[in-house]
Subunit: 455 residues, 2 copies
């Protein structure tokens, strides 16, 4: 429950159409794609940095939890107002402040959709590389909060590689400006990348200067079909050893293929048990030799066939529907996005199969193999206590395996509330304590997304 005096002051800051306090209205801001539900006590819609600043300052004065929120497409619970308080929705900060193709820059407010950035950049021959599956619906504020990746990260990197500077309001209510407008700059500490991926725990981003990339001249898709996961996994490091880095290298296991077949019956041969979807891009003259090299790297005794695809778009559509299809099968599945070094992928996928057997947990695995980033989906029913107990043990062992292989617990989803109990497996106590002290510097009263990220 929010103090009456706080609420009345909040009402003086925002017109009534930009403040929700009715629990029915607030409920729409209670969940994200983690499928947990934590209703906020109020939802505030800011339209300017100055407004963000006054709202944060007020929350800070009253020690009211404030959870910044983009479009709620995250899967780790990062935007859930777990401790109630105010959900600060940035979805109405929709202004593209500048489109500056001569400097390869777009400046945008946090509510601008990733897709809108792409649409603004495209006529000038540019794109913004981060491409999470949610790109059509997710905001750049959310992309920044998680350093979102996507299939093209294998060649182009993730969000943190494509941002030059930020404006943001710290938990203490201070408006700061980080980074610069140029592609080089080393004045002061790199607060830009400190904020990127900090999941709204340090500051509310109010503006971002995004670095654009020229479109490749040409692009084509290839598929490689394998008899078994082992052969398929073995091909991944072979492909990544090529000098021609693919622009996407996606892995799909038997479970993922089964799901695609259920929805697109004619798309895949029956005997394919694991598959790679590969994209190469670059100068038009380069594509065919690049395909030849990749197809050759795909070859091993377990390969059924590999070829350039006639209809890459259909395949990508199928790949994109995997997450929603999995939600149909297991609405409350556990969805992980662990990463291991590419060369360790065969060992990891093998270990994963053993864990699946050991704990009798069905899992479906696919993802950005070129980065070693696998979306491991445990198809569990949270209402079955025994299954959940086994799933938890399975997860725990899987994370241990990931760390043993020199990997990381999350490649692009973030820690949020879903992975915070596991973060100590990866980050030692000393480093974690330092991170908490940094949090204190930005947010002395711990009002910004409290309880997230840290165990």
């Amino acid at each position: 429950m929010l103090p009456a005096s706080f609420l009345s002051r909040l009402r003086t800051l925002l017109p009534s159409d930009r403040l929700l306090t009715d629990p029915v209205d607030c409920y729409a801001y209670a969940y994200d794609n983690s499928r947990k539900v934590f209703p906020p006590d109020a939802v505030a819609f800011s339209v300017s940095a100055a407004e963000v600043q006054t709202i944060v300052a007020l929350c800070n004065e009253y020690r009211i939890p404030l959870t910044p929120r983009g479009r709620g497409t995250g899967t780790s619970g990062g935007s859930l107002p777990e401790q109630g308080g105010v959900a600060l929705s940035l979805e109405r900060m929709l202004h593209i402040v500048a489109v500056d193709p001569a400097n390869r820059v777009i400046v945008a407010e946090p509510g601008v959709l990733n897709q809108s950035v792409q649409d603004a950049a495209k006529p000038h021959g540019f794109f913004w590389p981060p491409d999470p599956s949610s790109a059509a619906y997710s905001s750049i504020g959310g992309n920044l909060a998680t350093s979102a990746g996507g299939p093209h990260a294998v060649k182009y990197g993730t969000t943190r590689d494509h941002v030059l500077g930020l404006k943001a309001v710290t938990g203490g209510g201070n408006l700061i400006k980080t980074g610069c407008y140029t592609t080089k700059g080393v004045v002061g500490y790199d607060l830009t990348r400190l904020l990127i991926g900090s999941e709204g725990t340090l500051a509310v981003i109010t503006e971002a200067t995004l670095k654009l990339t020229p479109f490749p001249e040409a692009r084509t898709g290839l598929t490689a079909h394998y008899r078994d996961v082992k052969s398929c996994a073995a091909a991944i490091p072979q492909i990544m050893a090529l000098p021609q880095t693919p622009s996407a290298l996606e892995f799909l296991d038997a479970g993922a293929l089964h799901l695609i077949r259920s929805h697109f019956p004619e798309m895949l041969p029956a005997n394919t048990c694991a598959m790679l979807m590969i994209e190469v891009d670059g100068p038009a003259r380069f594509i065919s030799e690049c395909c030849t090299a990749v197809l050759s790297a795909c070859r091993n005794p377990g390969l059924i066939h590999a070829e350039e695809t006639a209809d890459a778009a259909a395949l990508w559509l199928a790949r994109k529907t995997l997450s929603p299809l999995l939600r149909d099968v297991a609405p409350r599945k556990i969805n992980e996005d662990v990463v291991v070094p590419v060369a360790a992928l065969p060992e990891f996928l093998d270990g994963l199969a053993q864990l699946s057997d050991k704990y009798a947990i069905t899992n479906v695995n696919f993802g950005h193999a070129g980065n070693g980033n696998i979306h491991v989906n445990l198809l569990v029913n949270p209402d079955m206590a025994d299954e959940m107990d086994r799933a938890e043990k399975c997860l725990n062992e899987m994370f241990d395996l990931v760390i043993r292989l020199n990997g990381t617990l999350s490649g692009e989803h973030g820690v949020g509330s879903e992975k915070r109990t596991y973060i100590s497996k990866e980050i030692d106590a000393t480093t974690l304590a330092l991170m908490k002290e940094i949090k204190r510097v930005f947010d002395p009263c711990n009002i910004l997304n409290p309880g997230k990220m840290f165990p």
Copy 2:
């Protein structure tokens, strides 16, 4: 003067061949390429992270300033022990911990030279993109401390884009581990990039996990000769508007060309008053079309001629000798490395010429035009008070111009002691105060490189 008890404890930590206290010996660690001289009271040579930790802890206990030092090739005074105390030389931490081509990774200690990293990566078809002019002599620790760039940053980015993780000892004496071993990872705050470019003010880096890049298949050089700076500057944004990003795009003004002519008499036509040195790389089949596009973008009424060069290596050698040649002409020149957005370069270079006239200060300008990063050299004699006074005013106005054009004061050299009085032009008081608080978290007693970076 160091307290006797401190010195005697330091002596128990290090064998005598790894501790200098004689002022004559210490003098070799008193300077860098900023040409200022600040002798340390002692020089310690650590050979392990554990040793770094004990040395830092001891300095912390006694509140003794500790300045980490790579090979002293920096130009901003970042490695100068301005307040005396201990210079911690990392030059003997020379171990390449792992060469892992399958994962495109090299793990190295901070004293390893940039060139040694290249040598270790090359047989596997990889390179590490940061390429400061000092690459043959500078250590990766120093490259990390300044987020070093170089001519290839226009295509490949700077140091911060090519590091996956770090181990480091904070000013408080804590050993931390940042980032990960994989190309994706979003667990916890991005301390890796917070440390990169922090100029030894937060922590001493003891190990770095470097991300390697495959060599381009082919590479060629082009030159474009112009009648005047204006035409030359106008071509730069034209080239950067191409989808084919060059792998280097260097600008040289009349003064720079004059110096090259003095040393390489046959190299340059007499009527060239400004020049671009361009490199393109990529798949072999792509190079010729890329050259055609670049040559076409070079064209404007001020162009004398543009062509593919027969001997790119000779040109790069000439380019590399510019800094030493300038040192011969003006041993204590003022050397800046400001950056403006590429599209603002014509206006900046024009403004610079006006300032040079107004203050009667000779300057020579060249640098990484593709990033908008210009090395502005004011050829002054510090013994002439009047000239120095005019130079200071000129600098001050130049920095104002840079900021007005949405640029940054330093692209790759860092702030150190040379630019700290100007940092407030770029970073507002609130953001600067936050940076200082972050410094306090890492280094509560302010022993690490005290006085640097901040005004």
